[in-house]
């Protein structure tokens, strides 16, 4: 009884904190490491990038102001539009694969097993550095010497240029990255499923609702905030595709995998057009910001049906 009262008063006290002088400074001290990092590695480069996007800097010469020329060039640049197109294609493919596979695996784990070993095994591909996994798959998928093609041929089928044909290259890259990321997505979704109160499932089971119906009527709707979060994060993440392309296809065949990040990299560090590359990068920031905003709105991510 006494304990309960005590806790109650304490809670009430915490809810109405008295303003203490000096809090701001202490808070600042705690925030400083993050703020300094943020300022040095995000704000400062971003501001510099914005400035470079208005210049013709080529890394070695002094940057000269050219106004909005870079942006005008960008609008007319077919390779830029192509890079956006193939990036969008990639994002749809890889996010689709990740979410569908992740949901399936998470649901299986949620309803069938709580095994810690299985859960840990799921994230193993995610722990492999992406360059390593790209290299690994480049060998496995090689058109002539790859193991997968060896299997296809021994089954009497034709070998496939997984990474070398214009039709298959992008789906292959998407699959490679989905392979790496699915485990992590699964874990997030699985954690979300654990938040769904068990009673709802019990009630549904009493009413004779089957597993499949439970998944679509209970799990999926109540998972919405987590799904929204996963969608936003994996979308932004997959927009930043670079390493798998740099390792396996180098943007080819015929621009089929020249995604926007790889294009920016090429313009900046192969062709040394730093000014133009900065303009490309800033346009991408704009597009990503817009996409995230629209998504958050559409999915009402901040609100949960459980509340």
């Amino acid at each position: 009884m006494t304990t309960a009262t005590l806790t109650k008063t304490e809670t009430a006290g915490a809810a109405l904190p008295r303003r203490r002088r000096g809090d701001g400074r202490v808070a600042l001290a705690f925030l400083a490491p993050v703020l300094i990092g943020f300022a040095a590695f995000y704000v400062y480069p971003a501001v510099r990038g914005a400035w470079y996007s208005l210049t013709d800097w080529n890394l070695l010469s002094e940057p000269g102001f050219v106004g909005l020329d870079n942006y005008a060039e960008l609008v007319r640049d077919p390779l830029f539009w192509n890079s956006l197109k193939v990036t969008a294609y990639y994002v749809v493919l890889t996010v689709g694969m990740q979410i569908v596979l992740g949901l399936g695996l998470a649901a299986l784990m949620h309803r069938l097993t709580r095994s810690l070993v299985l859960r840990s095994l799921l994230v193993v591909p995610w722990l492999v550095p992406s360059v390593t996994s790209a290299l690994l798959w480049m060998w496995l998928l090689d058109a002539n010497l790859g193991f997968l093609n060896h299997l296809l041929v021994s089954l009497g089928l034709d070998n496939q240029g997984f990474l070398t044909s214009p039709e298959l290259a992008m789906p292959s890259v998407a699959a490679i990255n989905a392979w790496g990321a699915t485990g992590y997505t699964t874990l997030l979704l699985y954690a979300g499923m654990l938040l769904v109160p068990q009673q709802i499932y019990e009630a549904a089971a009493l009413d004779g609702t089957g597993e499949v119906r439970q998944f679509f009527r209970i799990t999926l709707p109540l998972l919405r905030p987590i799904l929204a979060f996963v969608l936003v994060v994996s979308l932004i993440d997959s927009f930043q595709l670079f390493d798998a392309v740099a390792v396996t296809t180098k943007g080819g065949p015929v621009d089929a995998t020249r995604v926007v990040y790889y294009y920016i990299y090429e313009e900046a560090f192969t062709h040394f057009k730093m000014g133009y590359a900065s303009a490309l990068a800033l346009s991408l920031v704009l597009i990503l910001g817009l996409l995230t905003f629209v998504q958050m709105r559409l999915l009402r991510a901040s609100r949960s049906d459980l509340a």
């Binding site: 058109a143 010497l145 070998n159 240029g161 044909s165 214009p166 015929v254």
Partner: protein
């Protein structure tokens, strides 16, 4: 505060050449790890002769080399002396990153005639000289000895033309074997199930086609550029080039080569080593890669003779000095040493590449012979009158590379015919020069 001080010290210590105890340390950049040993020997010999100068070799692989170099130049800490490739140097010259060594060459009366003809002049732009030649390379056919013997193909004195491919195509057809053991020139050959392809062409080969289409196109009468080095008008729209590209693409249609979209991304040498192909076209810098192979027995044969004769690409590297170096005199001494017989004989004995100095080339040949490697045809091609052409050197090398290689891919994939794709590419290329 302490951290800042530490950073500052580190930044100072990280700079290119630092003078310690009255001596000078020079950084020398190269990309070929196979040659690092030979150049280390040069560096040791140089240090013995000049005890106050120490050479530190910094090696990074080809793919990272150029990017590293640019970043280092941006930060002002590039290596003092740099191994340079002819098609890459114009962009560094355009940005004033390389030192004009003509005054030193004149003052020290360097004998430029000691180098293989044509090599020294590649490094001159607008009366300024940027490098001394270090080595050169030519192109030849590499073939699998056992496969050629089994097929009964004689690899010497092959001919080629873009219409029927001459005896070169006949040899390729003969060397192609399908899953049933039928050869490419026999009735009943199944081109959909090929076990060994007659040729593993290096089609994805930039804007120059050094390892294949460029050499054959030139032997068909094609010229890359109006003036070399530093021309301003390319001729990629030439029908001679289009014919050659079409011929290469037909090889895949006939089953003699892998279709482009099913080509291994691991490179022709991997394919040939795996016994999946019988011959390829390659450069002399690959001699050791092929002849030292443990899985297959390879040999070299001269390129086929085209309608205009036998033409091999001829390219060379040079040592250049970074304009921002703090030790110009020491750097020049080192470059002078690298370009002298003292160092090039060491490189010759190592027998990886052919040195630029004519007398050292014989030495390299002897070293190869002693090791049982027959590489005479590379030197013969270089010596033959009119037998070589210099790879085009001009501004905008990187952009041209991307434009032309994309157009070529369209041809290999059959998305566009060679004439259309290459004419469009040529317009884009020449627009780079008119646009300034």
């Amino acid at each position: 505060m302490a951290v800042t001080a530490l950073l500052l010290t580190a930044a100072c210590g990280g700079g290119g050449g630092s003078a310690d105890a009255g001596g000078v340390t020079l950084t020398y950049a190269l990309w070929d790890d196979v040659q690092q040993g030979a150049y280390q020997q040069c560096a040791d010999a140089f240090h013995k002769a000049n005890p106050d100068i120490t050479i530190k070799i910094s090696q990074s692989a080809w793919d990272q080399y150029w990017q590293n170099l640019t970043t280092q130049m941006v930060s002002g800490g590039a290596p003092d002396v740099i191994t340079m490739q002819a098609s890459y140097y114009p962009q560094f010259v355009a940005n004033n990153q390389l030192l004009d060594i003509q005054p030193m060459v004149s003052a020290d009366r360097i004998d430029l005639s000691q180098y293989w003809p044509g090599l020294a002049d590649l490094w001159v732009k607008d009366g300024k000289r940027y490098g001394l030649p270090k080595d050169w390379d030519t192109i030849a056919i590499v073939y699998n000895v056992d496969m050629a013997k089994k097929a009964g193909v004689d690899m010497s004195g092959l001919t080629w033309n873009p219409t029927d491919g001459g005896t070169f195509e006949k040899a390729i057809a003969r060397l192609t074997v399908d899953a049933n053991g039928k050869r490419g020139d026999e009735p009943g050959f199944d081109k959909t199930r090929v076990a060994v392809h007659g040729i593993v062409p290096e089609l994805n080969d930039g804007s120059q086609g050094q390892n294949g289409w460029g050499d054959l196109a030139v032997s068909n009468g094609f010229t890359f550029i109006d003036k070399n080095p530093f021309g301003t008008r390319y001729y990629y729209d030439s029908p001679k080039l289009a014919e050659t590209a079409d011929w290469f693409r037909r090889l895949a249609d006939k089953g003699y080569a892998t279709p482009y979209d099913k080509t291994s991304s691991l490179g022709p040498d991997t394919m040939l080593n795996a016994g999946k192909g019988a011959l390829g076209i390659t450069g002399s810098w690959m001699i050791r890669t092929y002849l030292d192979s443990k899985s297959q027995k390879f040999a070299f044969a001269p390129l086929p003779t085209g309608p205009q004769g036998r033409k091999s690409a001829f390219n060379g590297l040079a040592d250049v000095i970074y304009a921002g170096t703090e030790h110009k005199d020491a750097a020049w001494k080192w470059v002078k040493f690298l370009g002298s017989t003292a160092c090039q004989d060491i490189v010759a004995d190592d027998a990886v590449v052919f040195p630029a100095i004519t007398s050292s080339v014989e030495r390299a040949l002897k070293a190869h012979k002693a090791a049982g490697r027959d590489v005479q045809m590379f030197v013969d091609e270089a010596k033959a009158p009119g037998g070589t052409f210099l790879l085009p050197v001009s501004d905008h090398g990187d952009e041209i590379n991307q434009i032309v290689s994309t157009a070529m891919e369209e041809v290999w994939l059959g998305q566009k015919d060679a004439r259309t794709a290459l004419t469009a590419a040529n317009q884009k290329v020449n627009a780079l020069f008119s646009g300034g």
